[in-house]
């Protein structure tokens, strides 16, 4: 087993282990903070897939953005202390069905995909400029549309916050 393989398994273990804590922890704040390790583990897996830009973006947007937002959301919940910030199990049957369907789809994709296996570790210099070129050539419309979608999201977020 090579060093990269060992690191891969460590990252996978960190990702899954912390994801388990996210789900099973009764304390919402613990869940939020252990999500950080899940995101970090996923970022590590991206690096091992040579997707360097995606890995750093994961760090920037998920760890630095979404997680902070989630924690702020938890902090905004009032009367948390007396009720004990907890997440219990409820609606078990519908959840099982949804998770089952999702798992089936994932397994299907997993077995049907023809995985490209590369020999050794290719010497890639980085994906950033390739992504940049793709954004303004082949994917120009999605690039601009995503800008507008984000504008709509900002307007909607501000509007909803104002209504309270």
């Amino acid at each position: 087993m090579e060093l990269t393989d060992i690191i891969f398994y460590i990252f996978a273990l960190v990702t899954i282990g912390s994801a388990m804590i996210v789900v099973f922890s009764r304390n919402l704040v613990y869940s939020a903070f252990s999500l950080m390790f899940t995101f970090l583990g996923v970022a590590g897996l991206y690096v091992l897939l040579l997707a360097d830009f995606l890995a750093v973006t994961q760090l920037m947007i998920y760890v630095g953005g979404i997680l902070v937002l989630m924690i702020f959301g938890v902090m905004l919940t009032h009367r948390v202390v007396n009720v004990e910030i907890s997440s219990g199990a409820m609606r078990v049957i519908p959840a099982t069905i949804v998770v089952g369907v999702f798992l089936g789809t994932l397994l299907l994709v997993l077995t049907r995909t023809k995985w490209m296996v590369m020999e050794g570790s290719p010497d890639v210099i980085g994906t950033t400029s390739m992504i940049g070129t793709a954004l303004v050539t082949d994917y120009l419309l999605p690039f601009e549309v995503s800008g507008v979608v984000l504008l709509v999201a900002i307007v909607a977020a501000a509007f909803m916050a104002r209504k309270r």
Binding site: F33, D52, L59, V63, L67
Partner: protein, 369 residues
């Protein structure tokens, strides 16, 4: 230099670890100097003498302080969340140290030569926010929680203008590699980005060529404004005065680290000082030529002594970084603290629109030239 360490140690993994420890050694040395500088500059600004008893002119004061912190009792409040309380200083320091991975200290030394170093730097700086919120929440103290929330809101707000300011320089270089950004400024201080960037064609390590001529002086006012935006945002991101609302002692005692004592407090302190140097060094790298000497040539290269070149690089990085750290200390005793509404006004209504406008103008000039 990397090859030299590998040859010296033999074991590849061990050599890499030694390679990665070097910035830590630098931070420890820097922290000692910075603590004394902070005390001495504070006292001189206020017409005092400052520490005078420990050693000549009190130069051993920082050692005494570190020793004191090390030997202080570590108090964990009974109502605190023990796990997160202990984890928070680790996260905060790891976030600060991880950013040092891409900081070039010399032409031969950069911890990890990432192609998207600049982008990584921005991503990692948000890591410390989580540690701060973690510490603030785990302390179970009103001041800590309020300080942590304010701190987090401030850091994330000011990350937008600081990232945009760095984006503007990336637009001029066409690379996110910090070594490329420094190479683009080689040849003397008139080629630094603060003075409009390179004035003649530059060939980067990747073989890409930046076309430039004397007309690049049109960028001077634009990049000067960009630097001001970056430095102000950096001040806010490190929670330094005048942006120290999260730690404003007159209303929040100590901010998010109110409950921390002993070495755990010391770790928050170290992380803050490391972050101060980091943002200062990034300002130096991006706008002031990094490890380049102001006149473009180094004594080591002239005499063909690689070790001297290396030391000169580290010297210039440290000197430029220290200068901006000193400016931070200077501002601390010059400017009063902002109010929260002024803080938000500054960020969302001044710095962000200005940085976007600058990005548009700089991009336009780069394309038409």
């Amino acid at each position: 230099m990397e090859q030299f360490i590998h040859d010296l140690i033999g074991n590849d993994l061990l050599a890499t670890i030694v390679w990665c420890v070097l910035p830590l050694v630098f931070i420890l040395g820097y922290a000692i100097v910075a603590i004394l500088a902070e005390m001495k500059s504070a006292s001189w600004f206020q017409d005092r003498l400052g520490p005078m008893r420990t050693g000549p002119w009190g130069i051993f004061q920082p050692f005494a302080d570190v020793l004191k912190l090390l030997m202080k009792e570590d108090i964990v409040p009974a109502r605190a969340d023990k796990i997160l309380f202990n984890l928070a200083p680790v996260i905060v320091f790891v976030g600060a140290y991880a950013a040092f991975a891409v900081l070039p200290f010399a032409s031969e030394y950069v911890g990890a030569d990432l192609n998207l170093g600049l982008f990584y730097l921005i991503a990692v700086s948000s890591f410390g926010v989580l540690g701060i919120i973690m510490g603030g929440w785990a302390s179970n103290n009103k001041y800590s929680l309020l300080g942590a929330m304010r701190s987090a809101a401030q850091i994330v707000s000011y990350e937008v203008p600081s990232a945009t300011a760095l984006l503007i320089v990336a637009m001029m270089v066409g690379s996110l590699n910090l070594q490329d950004i420094i190479t683009a400024q080689s040849g003397g201080f008139w080629n630094w980005f603060i003075l409009g960037g390179p004035k003649s064609d530059v060939v980067l390590a990747s073989g890409a060529v930046i076309h430039a001529d004397i007309g690049n002086f049109v960028f001077l006012p634009l990049l000067l404004a960009t630097f001001v935006i970056y430095y102000l945002s950096a001040l806010a991101e490190t929670n330094r005065t005048p942006f120290d609302i999260p730690e404003g002692e007159s209303e929040l005692v100590g901010g998010y680290h109110t409950e921390y004592s002993g070495m755990k407090f010391g770790m928050f302190f170290m992380a803050e000082y490391a972050n101060m140097f980091l943002v200062s060094a990034v300002a130096a790298v991006v706008f002031f030529g990094g490890w380049q000497s102001p006149w473009g040539i180094t004594l080591g290269e002239a005499l063909d002594i690689p070790v001297l070149t290396l030391l000169e690089g580290v010297f210039w990085t440290a000197a430029k970084g220290f200068f901006f750290v000193f400016v931070m200390m200077w501002l601390r005793w010059t400017l009063p603290r902002l109010r929260v509404d002024q803080l938000m006004y500054m960020c969302w209504k001044v710095l962000i629109p200005a940085s976007f406008a600058l990005a548009l103008v700089v991009g336009f000039i780069v394309v038409i030239r």
